[in-house]
């Protein structure tokens, strides 16, 4: 019987291929859609993890020009700076447990990259927002002049990136975050200040007023236990001039809001597509069973019971479904992996492929869904058929 099923499939290559592609489509919809959804979730999760800060303070001008959520999706807030004296004032605010500064610098002229590269300077001593995430993937020490590059920066450890005519060796590459931070490079504060001076000397960077060593882009604050970040942010906004303090919660919430909206739409789309493909699959199996009426009648005539006939049809459908859904799962992994950057950019949300376990669960679910769909469709149409009078069918033929 098993051989008969395989022979029937091979004997009608066109029909088998059509069914195969339908199942593949269903599997692609389920698995690919699921992967996109879970990548968005994972992206949000990584964003949340990385935002160790409760409050971010940036120059008021930057806050005016920058969407809060783009801060972490794109990594920087543009060429706006504040003085160290401002940082000292911020530090005096009640309720602060930890405080760390970062400097952002944009370069259009990196020798290695076709995209504008962001340079982010941070202080490893006081840092609590990036360090934990850097630590795991750090492959070399971050001494003077050395860089860590984001996962999507096209440079390997050992190579150098030329920034403002300064050649900076790459100390290591970071793990992906699914955000714009993946295209940034990271260095210490002294390094980035050297780069800023070099940028000014080249005349390519003029918006810094004053001494680069006195300049800061953003201040990250962790509040003490039991202190409401909102109080700290409010206090800074009231007492320190020319800066804007925001709660990171609001950043996350904005992203999470747009994510859940998108998630709803995507889920609906996936369900709609899956239902549509399923219906087509069902129709295809029904049509096919109709077309094979005589063949089935012949088998019944020879003494094959309804149950065994249904088993044969089921087996055929199961073979096609298994192959089709496996191919669909493979293809969705390939596609989502290949286009994860483009997808993240297009959606404007952090996009990070889920863990192997989650991915495997998704793949299995899609496989199961497809395995269920084809044979179920086949079984229903075969059942309908077996009610028809065998003798009648054969005499009509």
């Amino acid at each position: 019987m098993k051989r008969l099923a395989v022979k029937n499939l091979l004997g009608r290559p066109g029909r088998t291929a059509a069914l195969f592609f339908l199942v593949l489509l269903l599997s692609l919809t389920l698995c690919g859609g699921g992967l996109v959804l879970s990548s968005l979730r994972t992206g949000l999760g990584s964003l949340e993890n990385r935002l160790g800060a409760d409050v971010i303070v940036m120059p008021a001008k930057a806050a005016l020009k920058t969407d809060l959520d783009t801060l972490f999706l794109q990594g920087t807030i543009g060429p706006y700076y504040m003085n160290m004296s401002t940082v000292d004032k911020i530090a005096k605010t009640e309720g602060i447990s930890r405080l760390s500064t970062q400097i952002f610098l944009s370069s259009m002229r990196a020798s290695c990259c076709s995209i504008p590269i962001q340079v982010i300077g941070f202080d490893p001593e006081s840092d609590f927002t990036v360090s934990s995430w850097l630590k795991e993937s750090r492959q070399g020490s971050l001494d003077e002049g050395r860089l860590l590059v984001g996962s999507r920066v096209n440079a390997n450890p050992g190579e150098s990136i030329k920034l403002y005519n300064i050649s900076c060796p790459v100390a290591g590459q970071l793990q992906p975050t699914g955000t714009g931070l993946d295209t940034a490079v990271y260095c210490t504060l002294p390094t980035i200040r050297t780069l800023m001076t070099a940028a000014e000397d080249l005349g390519g960077y003029s918006s810094i007023s004053g001494d680069p060593s006195e300049t800061v882009s953003a201040v990250y604050i962790k509040v003490k236990e039991g202190v409401d970040p909102k109080d700290v942010a409010d206090s800074i906004n009231v007492h320190v001039r020319k800066v804007k303090a925001v709660q990171t919660r609001s950043v996350i919430t904005t992203v999470a809001d747009s994510l859940s909206g998108l998630e709803r739409i995507l889920t609906l789309l996936i369900i709609a597509a899956a239902v549509l493909v399923w219906l087509v699959l069902f129709a295809a199996f029904t049509l096919m069973t109709g077309e094979r009426k005589k063949e089935f009648a012949t088998l019944r005539l020879c003494g094959l019971s309804r149950g065994r006939l249904a088993g044969l049809v089921f087996r055929e459908a199961a073979i096609v479904s298994l192959l089709g859904s496996a191919a669909g799962v493979g293809l969705s992994f390939l596609l989502v992996h290949a286009f994860s950057g483009a997808l993240g950019n297009a959606l404007g949300l952090p996009f990070l492929l889920p863990s192997a376990g989650t991915a495997a669960t998704l793949a299995l679910a899609a496989l199961f869904g497809c395995l269920l769909a084809g044979p179920l469709a086949a079984a229903v149409s075969a059942r309908k058929l077996s009610r028809a009078d065998t003798g009648l069918i054969l005499r009509e033929g």
């Binding site: 019987m1 094959l304 309804r306 003798g391």
Partner: protein, 233 residues
């Protein structure tokens, strides 16, 4: 003892108010190993009788005994088993599966019948040893019908039921196929029942049954049936 016994068998088709008595209280006894020909005009009920005997249909009334077993009350699954074990069919249409080769079409019964014979031997016996890997569409009508005969016999059934087996063939090919069918069934000692319009075939039969309007008109035993070669085709 009779291998087949019909007792007051009726088959009534209902189309709304209209009732069609395709078979009307038929009584019949057929001996094992005999060659039986059923004659009758179109619409007489010949195919209905054959289908009932073949377990393709249940009678409306009456009982049908085959080898001492009542098949008129069997369930669909029991009928399938009965067909698998006891009857072989040859119809006017060859009913071959187009996606399977000749040998695969015959070997199919191995999966179904409880005591099948070698598919290869059967195909050799019908003279198609050289065509076993071809597809049905690559064969002539006569050759296709020979495949279906090989398939029916490969099941090694007790009874061979043939409903106008040469109906779709030209008369010359029809004779060849008929001769083959008869000599093989004889050799293998099968009970063979043929529905036909060909009066010549009747000359070779052990028993000739005439059916009309759903009733058995006559059931004659022929003491000295002609052999295949004696018949003037």
């Amino acid at each position: 003892m009779a291998i087949v016994e019909f007792k007051e068998v009726s088959r009534v088709y209902r189309n709304g108010d209209h009732e069609q008595r395709a078979l009307d209280r038929v009584n019949l006894q057929l001996e094992e190993g005999k060659f039986i020909v059923i004659l009758g005009p179109s619409g007489a009920g010949k195919s209905t009788l054959l289908n009932l005997l073949g377990g393709l249909d249940n009678p409306t009334e009456g009982t049908i005994m085959v080898k001492g077993r009542d098949i008129s009350t069997l369930s669909a699954n029991e009928l399938a088993d009965y067909r698998a074990a006891s009857v072989g069919f040859v119809f006017q249409s060859y009913n071959l599966i187009p996606t399977l080769t000749v040998i695969e079409n015959v070997a199919l019964v191995k999966e179904i019948a409880p005591k099948p014979l070698s598919s290869h031997d059967m195909l050799k016996a019908v003279g198609l040893a050289d065509h076993i890997h071809q597809f049905p569409s690559e064969l002539s009508g006569g050759e296709q019908q020979r495949v279906s005969i090989a398939r029916a016999l490969a099941k090694n059934p007790d009874i061979l039921l043939c409903d106008e087996p040469t109906g779709a063939l030209d008369s010359e090919t029809g004779v060849v196929v008929l001769k083959l069918l008869l000599s093989m069934a004889r050799e293998m000692g099968k009970t063979i029942i043929i529905v036909t319009h060909n009066q010549n075939i009747a000359k070779m039969a052990d028993v000739v049954i005439r059916v009309k309007n759903g009733k058995i008109q006559s059931c004659e035993e022929q003491a000295n049936p002609m052999s295949v070669d004696e018949v003037d085709w």
